[in-house]
Symmetry: none
Amino acid sequence: MELRAEIISVGTELLLGEIVNTDAQFLCRELSALGINVFYQTVVGDNPGRLAAAVELARGRSDILITTGGLGPTCDDLTKQTLARCFGLELVFDPESAARIRDYFAWRFPAGTMPENNLQQAMLPRGCRVLPNDWGTAPGCIFEAEGRRVIMLPGPPSECRPMFRERVAPYLRALSGQTIRSRSLRVFGLGESAVEERFRDRMNALTNPTLAPYAKAGEVELRLTARAESAAAADALMDPVQAEIQAELGDLVYGVDAASLEEVAFGLLRERGLTFGCAESCTGGLVAKRFTDLPGASAVFRGGVVTYCDQAKEALLGVPRGVLEDRGAVSAEVARAMAQGARRVLGCDLAAATTGVAGPDRDDRGNPVGLVYVALATPEEVFCREVRLGPGRDRVRTAAAHHAFDMVRRALQGLAVE
Amino acid sequence: MELRAEIISVGTELLLGEIVNTDAQFLCRELSALGINVFYQTVVGDNPGRLAAAVELARGRSDILITTGGLGPTCDDLTKQTLARCFGLELVFDPESAARIRDYFAWRFPAGTMPENNLQQAMLPRGCRVLPNDWGTAPGCIFEAEGRRVIMLPGPPSECRPMFRERVAPYLRALSGQTIRSRSLRVFGLGESAVEERFRDRMNALTNPTLAPYAKAGEVELRLTARAESAAAADALMDPVQAEIQAELGDLVYGVDAASLEEVAFGLLRERGLTFGCAESCTGGLVAKRFTDLPGASAVFRGGVVTYCDQAKEALLGVPRGVLEDRGAVSAEVARAMAQGARRVLGCDLAAATTGVAGPDRDDRGNPVGLVYVALATPEEVFCREVRLGPGRDRVRTAAAHHAFDMVRRALQGLAVE
């Protein structure tokens, strides 16, 4: 059965921008994994009138209504009262919930006494299914009215997430017969618009699985999403389309459901028992930082050298002063010499190097912002790419690091590197 | 004049939970700082019908309608078409935007040709105010119709944020008579709950300005917010409260409206004409990366050395093998030797060093995850802090880098460093 869910997030702090609405993202992801469509998500403040308006709208267009927030003990917490009123239910005292809340306080504050307003959290819509809160005080609840299912969850992610996973997901799984599975094909070296142009017809033609492109910083993700009765059936729907895309894009697809270029490079290096290091100018440590973000990086990563001035390039990496003077720091020759120097001083098998103009201004030789040379030294040879990146300092640095990891990946996969 | 704004975020990826809606948080925060109320925020997918429904609802209850997303070149990008239709406007070709898009591609891909679908981004509602995009390709726009103001912004935060700050905020500031000003006191070295406990009474008592604490990764922000007819009047309301807080917290407040610890450290180094460098183990390049995130860092930053194995610590920084063997890499002695080595090999005035256990596992000597030594070498002496950080690899690394910059700041301000 096709189910439509709608999420209403309650909290003035969301509308003031004081917190990010991570509950909504979490719920959207979990619901789509359950094969339940989310067509709308709304945020309202701690205001009964506006909350009621959002509920009125939602009950007319959705089968399942999920609220987060507003279940607490303070006078701002009006979600239960408002939803009960909208559906003509009264709130009744739930002794079990009250006992749990008392126990929770007795355990948290052995000395102290519990503020009585906490018992307001034990007032629940008559006939609802109570969702005990093992991670905080405010219980959630589910009730069915007028053919709609209403689910109320606490706002704090540390309570909302486990309560959904343990108490709500099983309830919803029983409702929806379906599973949605998706796969992400990660593409580097082709722009979003180029990818979209190549696949537009298929994107329009395909309905199950669907195919959609997403631009990520400096790369593109092609997402396949299939809906079926079982995970196996959904996979079977995606397999041929994935094969077709990979046949067409070839080695531009660097991974399927891969987390990042550095993770793919890390995996290949570890498989082959090779060590890695880097020499960075314009990326200023970003290549090393991203590689060492990966748990276990120390098995492969020897170290890195960030040379932000000519003297350091010469002293630490042995880049010949003559080359620095003739070609300038932003040049293919210097990038190559940096990569070779890093291999030597770090004693690693592969070393990547970056030198370029991250901005905001041109360098002293008038090289434009975004011009970057990325080199990779292997035991056999030294590769170098000249790339134009940006706009913006962050994008230049991010994309330059992408290129370094992409060169590692391609070298180890025996593909053209430059 | 009291203005009501409403945000409509467009993107199926939001409803699938693939990305967090950080644009909405950013806009809510900026709008409330402009004294503009946000009563509703809605997320819809890339679906013209549902987007139109959300627009119909919003135009009936809000003065200002802001959309994010759906301005790109792909066939999913339907925001402009849909909003124009809702308000009975036609889309017309904007040659200036087209020229910008062509220039952008010519620069990015000198060899390649631009996919024609990119020019779809130059189709804009007739009579609108174009918001040029200096940070990407899709221009935004503002139009006024039926007494409503409609503002369309691109989805990527790297484009949405600067476009709002530089092109939309001035427009909105002119509309709203009231000014809300806020100040952020950045605190390092005291936990959020400790800060809250110290200021709870004042937080509850104060109404204009208001005082609120925000926990940031490893630090705390105390935000003062005042509402008045003029910026000067708002400032006058905040001055005495700020003075009181600073008198109480003293040098734990590292900056007011400062962007980060590294920015404060950078400013002090530049003022004094001193150079900086670093040697990193557990932070793996994060200290160098964060420092070089700052435009103009090259005036101060000489470079960094990431030594992720003992051999590199010895070979690149001259850490004596004996010390590495006796004390182990995670020790105050090694941290000090790394900082001194970095000063020497990088030829910089100050050098920071980090060595510790970022996790996920204890090191080979059984040191616990989160144990980190942070050292700072100056021309006069060498300081070292032993800190216990975490939980989690990212938090350990982030907080360790915070300590490095805090030590620079305190050393240059003549405060106790260890």
